[in-house]
């Protein structure tokens, strides 16, 4: 791993400095996490895009609306971990394609309530099995315990990261 070519005139940091630093990209968790996530996201994104013309943000909205019924964009923001701009844009795309309906909020005229249209529900019913098939394909060979453990650790990293963002830096 570290032994890949370096013969060609390389003048790497004397290994003492590296050992002192203790830092290798391949062993660095944030890097590993990012690379794995990009690989998976890319796969999923291409699948939804190619087959249904949906972006990932759009798919997330559909998914949450299918679970949760009618929601305002603000509620969607908190349920999807996307910012309001992204939700707004994704919603507009879905609206154009009549996959969601938008009705005035009964008590707040600024707010709109989004819900899956019949057509949107049909699309959801079509995509959901595919989404699950991808998940299955990805975790094939892992035990249910491993999958649970993985999810738990991911949550942990996520909350650690958000905590650090707020309460600032470790150095």
């Amino acid at each position: 791993m570290t032994l890949l070519r370096q013969g060609s005139g390389g003048q790497a940091l004397r290994s003492s400095a590296r050992r002192e630093a203790g830092l290798t990209l391949d062993a660095y968790l944030p890097y590993r996490l990012s690379v794995a996530s990009n690989a998976v996201s890319g796969l999923i994104a291409r699948a939804y895009q190619d087959r249904f013309g949906l972006s990932v943000p759009q798919w997330r909205l559909i998914c949450v609306l299918a679970e949760g019924g009618a929601l305002t964009q603000g509620q969607l923001v908190s349920k999807t971990v996307m910012d309001k701009v992204m939700v707004s844009r994704a919603a507009q795309g879905l609206l154009r394609r009549h996959l969601v309906s938008r009705t005035a909020h009964h008590a707040d005229a600024r707010s709109h309530v989004l819900a899956l249209s019949t057509q949107g529900q049909r699309l959801y019913a079509e995509i959901a099995p595919l989404a699950l098939a991808y998940e299955q394909a990805l975790i094939a060979g892992l035990s249910p315990d491993e999958v649970d453990g993985l999810k738990r650790l991911l949550s942990r990293l996520q909350s650690a990261a958000t905590a650090l963002v707020d309460s600032d830096p470790p150095a």
Copy 2:
């Protein structure tokens, strides 16, 4: 979790359809992975940007060059899992700041060999401890076994995803 408000006039899919689909965003691994990764990447990216004016791609190059000595951009591509355009741009930025040197490849005039400059090495020595401190802060509370397991599972997901990209779809 699924019980968050939905009282407000919601007409969620009858739960039978959901159970049949078996799909909940919060339980969907690619989503969890993406959210966790974004949180961590955002944290790291901001840290490097604010304190050193480095983008994550630039930091990756520095890191690999510190490990591996002098490398061509092509070698950097394969070591960083970034495409050649990204490597090219990151390299240009580092070059502008004289953090890397670029010399002609002895045997191939198309190719350039990049290496950390003295200044670049200084910067690396300064950042590395911070990077490790962030990693430590993120995995605080996890046992070494858990961390190893996590890395192993991430690798597994990554290779499953790339395999699926090539050999196409599971449905």
